[in-house]
Amino acid sequence: GAGVSQSPSNKVTEKGKDVELRCDPISGHTALYWYRQSLGQGLEFLIYFQGNSAPDKSGLPSDRFSAERTGGSVSTLTIQRTQQEDSAVYLCASMRQEYNEQFFGPGTRLTVL
């Protein structure tokens, strides 16, 4: 079966522009997570969706970051007015709640010039 997919795989943008990153989770997975990974660093939690519950936004670094999940499936992470420090790999993961094992996508590499 298909795994978690993310698009685009690479995104280069200019400072100040807005970007949208997309995540298609595994069908039937109710939980969806966004993380980011800076060069040589571990993963940093950003936001978590679980079913119809209010998302856990506690990891979003600023109000320039937002995410939504439509219809309990696809999710979009939006970064407004991008800054150079936003450059990182943005990883999405999904999970079936009863298994506690997160399945990660390949990530989107964002470069802000």
């Binding site: 978690v4 939980a31 997570y33 993380y35 040589g40 660093q41 571990g42 993963l43 940093e44 939690f45 978590y48 679980q50 856990d56 506690s58 990891g59 990883l91 993961a93 999970m95 709640q97 506690n100 094992e101 997160q102 399945f103 990660f104 996508g105 390949p106 990530g107």
Partner: protein
């Protein structure tokens, strides 16, 4: 805030030997502790999960221990192979399915 430390230096071992990776954390113990493998340019892949009330978990050549007194988990790969070369990430789960808090990872290199 919670702090997780993994071996900061790369671990180089000979094929066939046992690799042991360390994950130490501060503050209170998580409900679950997980280990992931990450290859360059790819997302992490789940390997093992161990619960707070478990001491040891095994899966094929992999073994994880969890000592809540020492606040430490050890990850062992026995009979290591060059294909085991990757970065291994420790992750803490305090909410049984919520967000994961990751360590920075340890790079393992297995030489033939």
């Amino acid at each position: 805030s919670q702090k997780i430390e993994q071996n900061s230096e790369a671990l180089n071992i000979q094929e066939g030997k046992t690799a042991t990776l360390t994950c130490n954390y501060t503050n209170y113990s998580p409900a679950y502790l997980q280990w992931y493998r990450q290859d360059p340019g790819r997302g992490p892949v789940f390997l093992l999960l161990i619960r707070e009330n478990e001491k040891e978990k095994r899966k094929e050549r992999l073994k994880v221990t969890f000592d809540t007194t020492l606040k430490q988990s050890l990850f062992h790969i026995t009979a290591s192979q060059p294909a085991d070369s990757a970065t291994y990430l420790c992750a803490l789960d305090y909410n049984q399915g919520g967000k994961l808090i990751f360590g920075q990872g340890t790079e393992l290199s297995v030489k033939p």
